[in-house]
Amino acid sequence: MRNRLSDSVIAGVAVAALLLAATHIAAQAPAYRAPRAPDGKPNLNGIWQALNTADWDLQGHAAAKGPVASLGAVFAVPPGLSVVEGDEIPYLPAAAAQKKQNQANWTALDPEAKCYLPGVPRATYLPYPFQIVQSPQNVLIAYEYAGAVRTINMGAPTKAPGDSWMGWSNGRWEGETLVVDVTSLMENTWFDRAGNFHSDALHVVERYTPRSADTLTYEATIEDPKVFSRPWKISMPLYRRVEKDARLLEYKCVEFAEELMYGSLRKKSSN
């Protein structure tokens, strides 16, 4: 009898210990382990898209009238919560003035309207899907918007031959997370339609972490000593397009922007 009692006490203690262990696991944030690619790394292959209003404005913003009255409620600004940690973008004073000016003239100045390549990180949260194709040596990201692509070198870090729209990406795995260091970005891209901008000194560190079979957490730390007083961070979920027939389609927009950019050169205005 006595033996049985002490045994069940031991069993009880064991249960409590197991429970404690379980709750401890539950308390630690991302316990998710992604399915593996053949090389044993998390498998990020697939078609992904952001589902937020970050391309309108990284910071929290209310709904507002759009730039073209005749589009009524269709192209008005949808409201959105901030994707910026702390909701503050630490502009230097001169840059803050520039940002305001950009915002006041966004349809005239925004590189997105002109179909310039979107740069990083904006390509990630444009309202178009993108596809990740992964190999041990390289990770390719193809974006629907403007047919933009970037190759992330997963080998020993290499140096950019020169500046480019989509920058120079060196990647590495940190456990479940794909970490990408992006430099050599041109200064001609923006972060959003609210006029948030950077210089050619932009340095972005991106982190792609699987959070379930069909979602990723995307984080980007943004550093640019010519424009910002300190590094700052954005984060958002990315969603796998789960339609059975999901695929990238063409959004080759150079032609879409021709009339806007060169319409004034017509012999006689067609409008």
């Binding site: 249960v15 179909c115 067609s270």
Partner: protein, 321 residues
């Protein structure tokens, strides 16, 4: 000894059950929008939360290629593919382009219009800028409210399910219990639901016929009858299917299907998108003493905001009725 053995097996089994329960709760918690069980207390799938479609259905339910803008005109070359954006969307450049899509219409991808209705659809597409109820901030109706590019919130109880939409702050109640029929037709219709296993089935009627399905001019009449089916794929995704029936407009029922996604931001919430004020210039700008005009002045583009109503536009008269 034997009894002890049995009781310890029971204890271990109990312990492992408790542990796995704790683990499964923790998995649901990390995957969800907030702490939220996958099922409600009455055992149904828990759809409560903030959802949004992630596709191009609001541009056109059917498969379509990317276009230079929602309103286009002939460019230098007389080919369809070389059309250029027209005045209202020209200033938006590539930001105002229409993204392509593989379509959400099931089967052969066709919408079975009657001959007469097919003509109206074609006219609607050509006069989109003058006619689409979305431009005017009308309540969007069902199913369009489900795949507009704005989130909506589901609040689920045992006898009612409320769906609240960010676009123009509209809502509908799905009645799971017995209710009186509505006194009159409305934009958002009358929704009556029931559960078929894990699928929420909603029968929607009582539409006033003033809504469209998309920006491509797809439309219906007040005889519209929908059967919606909401089936969980994962705790964070719903398969949404709608069978669409309208004998005044279509020759047979047809179906659309798409996933709906849970907005996963920890602080996800509906914000205001009150668009009435956004469309005042659009709807009433013609009452200005001096109307705003459009032209090139050197490099400067002055954008038109004139809104034409084609003479004898029956549909417009019908809207104004």
């Amino acid at each position: 000894m034997r009894r002890w053995f049995r009781s310890s097996i029971v204890t271990v089994a109990l312990a492992s059950a408790v542990v796995s329960a704790v683990i499964s709760v923790s998995v649901t918690r990390t995957a969800g929008q907030a702490a939220r069980p996958a099922r409600t207390s009455d055992g149904k799938p828990n759809f409560s939360g903030i959802w949004q479609a992630l596709n191009e259905a609001n541009w056109d339910l059917q498969a379509h290629e990317a276009r230079s803008g929602a309103v286009t005109q002939q460019g230098v070359y007389p080919y369809a593919y070389a059309r250029v954006p027209a005045a209202p969307v020209l200033a938006l450049g590539a930001a105002g382009g229409v993204p392509g899509s593989v379509g959400v219409v099931a089967g052969d991808g066709q919408i079975p219009y009657t001959q007469e209705a097919a003509k109206i659809k074609q006219e609607n597409a050509e006069h989109w800028i003058d006619r689409d109820p979305e431009l005017k901030c009308y309540l969007p109706g069902i199913p369009r409210a489900m795949y507009m590019p704005y989130p909506f919130e589901i609040v689920q109880s045992t006898n009612k399910i409320q769906m609240v939409y960010e676009f123009s702050s509209t809502a509908r109640t799905i009645h799971l219990d017995t209710v009186e029929p509505p006194p009159d037709d409305t934009y958002m219709g009358h929704s009556v639901g029931h559960w078929e296993g894990d699928t929420l089935v909603v029968d929607v009627t009582g539409f006033n016929g003033k809504n469209w399905f998309d920006r491509a001019g797809n439309f219906h009449s007040d005889a519209l009858h929908l059967v919606e089916r909401f089936t969980p794929i994962t705790p964070d995704a719903i398969n949404y299917e709608v069978t669409i029936e309208d004998p005044k407009v279509f020759t047979r029922p047809w179906k659309i299907a798409m996933p709906l996604y849970r907005r996963l931001e920890p602080n996800a919430q509906l914000m205001e998108y009150r668009c009435i004020e956004f469309v005042e210039e659009f709807l009433f700008g013609n009452l200005r003493k001096q109307q705003l005009v459009k032209r090139w002045e050197g490099d400067t583009l002055i954008v038109d905001i004139t809104r034409k109503v084609p003479p004898g536009d029956k549909l417009n008269d019908w809207y104004r009725r």
